[in-house]
Symmetry: C2
Subunit: 481 residues, 2 copies
C-alpha cells in the first residue's frame, strides 16, 4: 500500500536529519526518571525560573496591569501596584491598538521598537533605526527567520563555531543548507583564530559551497568566553572581505562574570571602525528577555536589529514575518521594559536594582564555584565561565570508558552523561550535541542551580566522576594529564 | 563585485516567491494613509480587539495573577480579584515548573494539554490523548510545523481550497512544495464537490506531484460556510482513498451565525464513522484563542491535535518543536481557560456567560447587517456568512473598470479595493489574495467593526461602490446580472 502523507518514510528528509541535543536523548531520559519519581536537576537548558530564580517584580507588575487593564480603573489599584508601574502600563497600552489581545504590526509594536533603538543608541553610542528592528517570539525565532532568508539550497553555507549552540546546526539542517564549522580553541580560552576561518571557507568553496554568513555567539554558548574588541574587528574585516552576513547572537550580553572584558556589541565595534567598514558589513544582531538577570524564557520575547541590509531584503523579511501575523504582544512589553527599566528617582528603582544585582552577583559566584568544582575533579578541565550561563568542562575519558560506550552503542560523552544522570539526577547535555574536536569529550551544564544547592551538586558530581574514572581508568597507562 | 549574503539577488527564492495578501499592498497603503492622518477601518485581518472588542474579564484576571504571582500573597488581593480567578491562577501556576517565566515542555504544559483533551472529549464524545496535543504560538505556527514535516520538495502537493486563507499558499511556497487547488462553488454557498477534488488530484499526479495532504477550513475563511456532516464524511473517505493527511483548520469553531449547521469537528465525524475509517485517516486539527468570542490574537496561543499519526512521526514533530524551545507560556494558560471556562455556580460564571454571549450575538447580527448591506449594492452579490469572521462578496466589475485597472498595472480587484480604501478608509483584502476563478472578482472584509458603526460603514461602502459602478459601467451593454 502507498504510504500516507505523515508516514515516517515519506517525511521531509531535512526534518528527519535535524538534531537538537538540548532536548535530546539525555533530556528525554531525565523526563522519564522524573516521572518515575527521581529528583532531577535540569541543567540542560538555560531556564533560570525553572531552577527557582524569581522574576523581577516591576516588569511583572506592568505586564499584569496590561493584561488586566480594567484594574487601572479600580480604586484599589494603588494598594497593590506602585504608581510607576501603573504609569508604565498606561504608557505601553497606549502604544498598542487594542491592548495585548490584538495582533501588532508583524515587526512588533512601533513604540517598543523605538525604545529598543534608544537603548541600542545609549549602549553603543551610535543611533539605531526602529524600522530595522523586528521583534520575535524569542531570539531563536529571529535566527530562524534570518537563516531562512539566506539559505536557498545545500550550496548555501553558514560558518558556525564549534562548539556551537545547536539551534544553528538544527536550523541549517532543517532549511537544507550547509553548516561550515570553524573551531574555537579550548586551550586559548575558546578564542577564535582568523586563519582557521579562512581555511574553513576555503574547504567549503572547494566543495562547491558558497559561504553566505558567519555566526558568532558572544558571550559564548556553550563555551562562556567574551570576545575582545580586537577579535571582533578581525571578524568584521573577514566578513567584509568574504561578503558574509555577520549574525551576532548577543543574547547573553547582560551575563558577564569578569571585569577585564566587558560586553562589546558587534555593532559598536563596527561603528567604531568607521567607513568604509561601517557601511559595508551586513550585520544582524540578536537579543532576548530570556537570559540576563531577566530569565523570562517562557514569555518568548526577542528582537533582531539589521545594519546595512538592503531595503528590498528588509521588505522580504517583513513579508515572511507577516505570514504568522505577529509576535506575541505581552513579550513585546517585556522587551520594552528590559531596555527601559526604572530610572534613579523612580519609586521602583531601588527594588529593581536590588533584585537584578542580586541575581547577577549570585550568577558570578556560581560561575566561580562551578568552574573551580570541575577543575578539582579527576580528568576534568574547565575554562572559567566569563559570560553566558554555562560551563563546558572537558572530560578526559579513559580508553576503557570509550570502549564500554562503544559496546553500549553510545557516543562516549552520551554514555558518561547518562551515567551521571542515573547516579545523581544531574541532567546535562553531552558535548557531542554542540560539536567538538574528534576524540575530545565535554558536557555542558548551566550555572543556574540555586546558589545554596551548588556545593552539594558539585560534591555529588565529583563523587560520581571520580568513581567513574576509578572504574574505567587503566592504572598502568592512562593518568591525569 | 560578488553579492553579499543578504543581497536581494541571492536570497532564498522561495522567500521571494511567497505572497501574503492579508498584509500585502492594501495593508501597506492603509498603514501609510493612517500615518498621514486618515481614519482607517482595518477590516483586512480578523483582529477583534483592534476594532474595540473587549477581552473577557475572567481569563485576563487569571493570567494577570499568573504574571504577578506575588499578588496572591497580598492581603488586598480579594479586593481586586474574585476568589475563583485566584484559585484558577494557583491551579495553573502549580502546573508549570517555574511559572510563566520558564520554558515549558516544547509541546506545552502537560496539565493544559490534559484540559484540552478533556474539552475535545466533551465536545466530540470520544476520548482524546494529551500526548497527541501540541501547543503552539498561534494556530498558524502549528500549520507551518505540520506542512514542514510533510513537504520535502516541489513534488509534494497539498490540496488547498480556492478561495483559501493565504497562510496556506504562502507556507507551501516558502517550503518549496506545490499547492494543488480545489475550487469551492460560490453558487452552492461555497460548497465542496468531491468530483472536483478527484480531478485536482488527477491533474497534479499528471504533473508528477504526489498529493500528500488536504486542507479544509471549517467554518470557511474567507468564505464563511459551515461544512455539513455528509460533506465531511465524503472528505474523510476521499482522504483515506488517496492516502492524504486531512488538515482541519477549525479555528472558527465558536463563530457560528445560523442554527441549521452547528459546528462539527472533523474528528467527531471521523469517530462517528467507526472503524476502519476511524483508524485509517491521518488527521491533524487546529484551534486557537485568537478567534471565537475570545479574539486574543496578540497572545499567540493555539494547539493541534493529531489522530492516527504514527508515533515515529509524532516524535519528529516534537523534535522540531523543541528547536525553538517552547511556545509562550501565558498563551498556554489562555488555552487552558478557553477549554475550561467558569462553570455554573462559579462566582465568575454569570459575567463570563454574559460577556461571551454578548460578543457572539453581536457578531451574528453584524454578519447579517453586512451580508444584507453588500447584497443591496450595485453589482455586488454575497453569500450569507454562516460562520467565521468574514464576508466575501463578489464584485462584478464592468469591463471598463477592468480596462482602467489594466492600464494602472493593477489586478482589477486590487484596483477596486485601493479606490475603496482611498475613498472611505475601509481596508479590505482583494479576492485575488485568496484565489478565485478567472474573471471573477471578490474582496474580503471582516465582520468585526463595532456594531454601532456598522450601518455607517455599509452606507459609506454603498456610496463608494455605486459611484464606482456608475463611473465605469457601460450604460448600453453591461447591466446587473
Amino acid at each position: 500500500m502507498a504510504p500516507k502523507g505523515l508516514d515516517y518514510e515519506v517525511l521531509n528528509e531535512n526534518v528527519k536529519k535535524c538534531q537538537y541535543a538540548v532536548r535530546g536523548e539525555l533530556y528525554l531520559r531525565a523526563s522519564e526518571l522524573q516521572k518515575e519519581g527521581k529528583k532531577i536537576i535540569f541543567t540542560n537548558v538555560g531556564n533560570p525560573h525553572a531552577l527557582g530564580q524569581k522574576p523581577l517584580t516591576f516588569p511583572r507588575q506592568v505586564v499584569a496591569l496590561c493584561q488586566a487593564p480594567f484594574l487601572l480603573d479600580d480604586p484599589n489599584v494603588g494598594l497593590m501596584f506602585p504608581a510607576d508601574a501603573i504609569a508604565r502600563a498606561k504608557h505601553y497600552l497606549a502604544m498598542t491598538s487594542g491592548g495585548l489581545g490584538a495582533y501588532s504590526d508583524s515587526r512588533g509594536v512601533p513604540g517598543v521598537r523605538k525604545e529598543i533603538a534608544e537603548f541600542i543608541a545609549r549602549r553603543d553610542g551610535y543611533p539605531s533605526d526602529p524600522e530595522l528592528i523586528f521583534l520575535t517570539d524569542g531570539a531563536s525565532k529571529g535566527v530562524m527567520q534570518i537563516l531562512n532568508a539566506i539559505i536557498g539550497s545545500h550550496n548555501d553555507g553558514i560558518l558556525v563555531p564549534v562548539p556551537q549552540y545547536p539551534l544553528y546546526s538544527a536550523t541549517i539542517s532543517l532549511l537544507g543548507g550547509s553548516l561550515v564549522p570553524y573551531y574555537l580553541e579550548e586551550t586559548a580560552n575558546w578564542g577564535l583564530d582568523i586563519d582557521n576561518l579562512r581555511e574553513s571557507v576555503r574547504q567549503a568553496t572547494f566543495k562547491g559551497i558558497t559561504v553566505r554568513a558567519m555566526v558568532i555567539i558572544n558571550p559564548g554558548n556553550p563555551t562562556g568566553q567574551c570576545l575582545s574588541e580586537a577579535n571582533l574587528q578581525e571578524i568584521v574585516r573577514f566578513c567584509i572581505q568574504e561578503g558574509l552576513v555577520l549574525m551576532a547572537d548577543e543574547v547573553y550580553q547582560q551575563n558577564i562574570y569578569q571585569d577585564e572584558r566587558p560586553f562589546l556589541s558587534a555593532r559598536k565595534v563596527l561603528m567604531n571602525m568607521g567607513p568604509p567598514a561601517s557601511k559595508d558589513l551586513q550585520l544582524v544582531s540578536f537579543h532576548t528577555v530570556s537570559k540576563g538577570y531577566w530569565g523570562e524564557c517562557g514569555q518568548r520575547g526577542g528582537y533582531f536589529e539589521m545594519t546595512n541590509i538592503p531595503p528590498q531584503t528588509v521588505d522580504e523579511i517583513y513579508k515572511i514575518a507577516s505570514i504568522a501575523l505577529s509576535p506575541n504582544v505581552p513579550a513585546q512589553i517585556f522587551l520594552g521594559l528590559m531596555v527601559n527599566p526604572p530610572k534613579p528617582g523612580d519609586i521602583s528603582y531601588f527594588k529593581y536594582e536590588q533584585e537584578s544585582k542580586g541575581i547577577l552577583e549570585s550568577l558570578r559566584r556560581r560561575a566561580r564555584i562551578m568552574t573551580d568544582g570541575f577543575n578539582s575533579c579527576r580528568n576534568v578541565v574547565c575554562n572559567f565561565t566569563e559570560g553566558a550561563m554555562y560551563s563546558f568542562p572537558q572530560i578526559r575519558l579513559p580508553p576503557k570508558a570509550i570502549e564500554a560506550a562503544n559496546k553500549a552503542g553510545k557516543h562516549p560523552d552520551v554514555f558518561y552523561c547518562l551515567k551521571l544522570l542515573e547516579a545523581t539526577g544531574i541532567s546535562t547535555v553531552p558535548g557531542s550535541g554542540f560539536g567538538q574536536k574528534d576524540g575530545v569529550f565535554h558536557m555542558r551544564t548551566t550555572i543556574l542551580p540555586a546558589e545554596e544547592e551548588m556545593p552539594g551538586i558539585m560534591d555529588s558530581f565529583r563523587q560520581f566522576n571520580d568513581g567513574f574514572m576509578e572504574q574505567y581508568e587503566d592504572h598502568q597507562g592512562y593518568s591525569r594529564l
